[in-house]
Symmetry: C2
Subunit: 207 residues, 2 copies
Amino acid sequence: MGAVVFDTVKIRATVALVTDRYHHGDLRRALIDAAVASIAESGPSALSLRAVAKLAGVSHAAPAHHFGDKAGLLTAVAAEGYDRFADALDRAWEATGDFIEVGIAYVRFAIDNKAYFETMFRPELLHEDDPDLARAEARSRAALIRGAGEPKPGPDGTVPEFNPNALGAWSLVHGFAGLLMGGNFPQAVAADPEGALRTIAAHIRFD
Amino acid sequence: MGAVVFDTVKIRATVALVTDRYHHGDLRRALIDAAVASIAESGPSALSLRAVAKLAGVSHAAPAHHFGDKAGLLTAVAAEGYDRFADALDRAWEATGDFIEVGIAYVRFAIDNKAYFETMFRPELLHEDDPDLARAEARSRAALIRGAGEPKPGPDGTVPEFNPNALGAWSLVHGFAGLLMGGNFPQAVAADPEGALRTIAAHIRFD
DNA sequence: GCGCCGGTCTTGACAGTGTCAAGTTGGTCG
DNA sequence: CGACCAACTTGACACTGTCAAGACCGGCGC
């Protein structure tokens, strides 16, 4: 928490020297960072705009001015999260070409970026119609689908409107991440989630 | 705090049989119902104790008196949810003996009891140490494990501390339910979730 | 050089929230 | 019948998000 304040001050100092955004330098950036720090501690639903403002060293109404809303701030966090998420998935796919590794990256992102991840999948707290959010979300979806392939004809010859394997794998890693972070798994799994997920993957076959 | 909830339950159980209580009859019941109705509309994080009180026709502080806390009320909702959940899973297993049907029941419960389900898996809003919640949670866990069997020795002869198939299936249905209710799935899936889940299950094999 | 302009942020206010302490009510039991 | 006590109310407090109005400051046209 103290570290966040320090970072914020530093960011302000450096940015203000280079660019010329009058009072704060890049308040939008600082507010998002403060929000992420706060979410990491107590979850997105407990976020307080006034606490964020205090963290960033500005007046209590500054966040609302920048993001319109509390939901607006959370939407900005979620959008940034989806972008980082897409980056992580893309990296995993390009490095390995193995879609299981994309699943591992999915879970690892959830663990390493808990604040972003928790915010991303809480639509009732967001402005779902926000174009930036939609764009970032689409990026993530595309990164996820990559490697899972297109739907193939089933045994009866008809082509389904979705790829069951992709949907199943997505559900699996998403549920795994959610249950893991909710503390629903036994200690052995919580201690080494990646290993547990690999074990699970080794026991499953997709037709 | 958990003790308060527990005591209240006991008091109600004993007293309600003998005679109705003075002002309201069964306010605890009415408050939980009001909370569920409110959660169904706007999610557990937007729950307002005062709105619940108004719904139940009592003063604004009555809910806190009964449940100690806002988290206390949500904990009571979650505990009741876990009990109903365990019932549903037990029913599915006893009716079919097929653990895929238990998975279907899992998702169906999430759809039919959105308010309960959303509350159950939001630990940051609950009193996780509440004994009644822990009991109901354990019931659900037991109902879920049933049919998945115990961990079996792997190829190297060692017995893992968890059953990968059970964990995988759990993750899959949980993730499916979460993504479905978050609106993350294509229309074809959202229109017939049960059919989609059966299709997914038909394409997956557990070793 | 100067005054205005527009965006950035602040100030002050408002209704609504959860929580707590103190009071009121009314059934129950000795 | 009176004392007791749990159930509930009342009133207050600090805190929240949101909004309107104002203060501040850089850059623009003149």
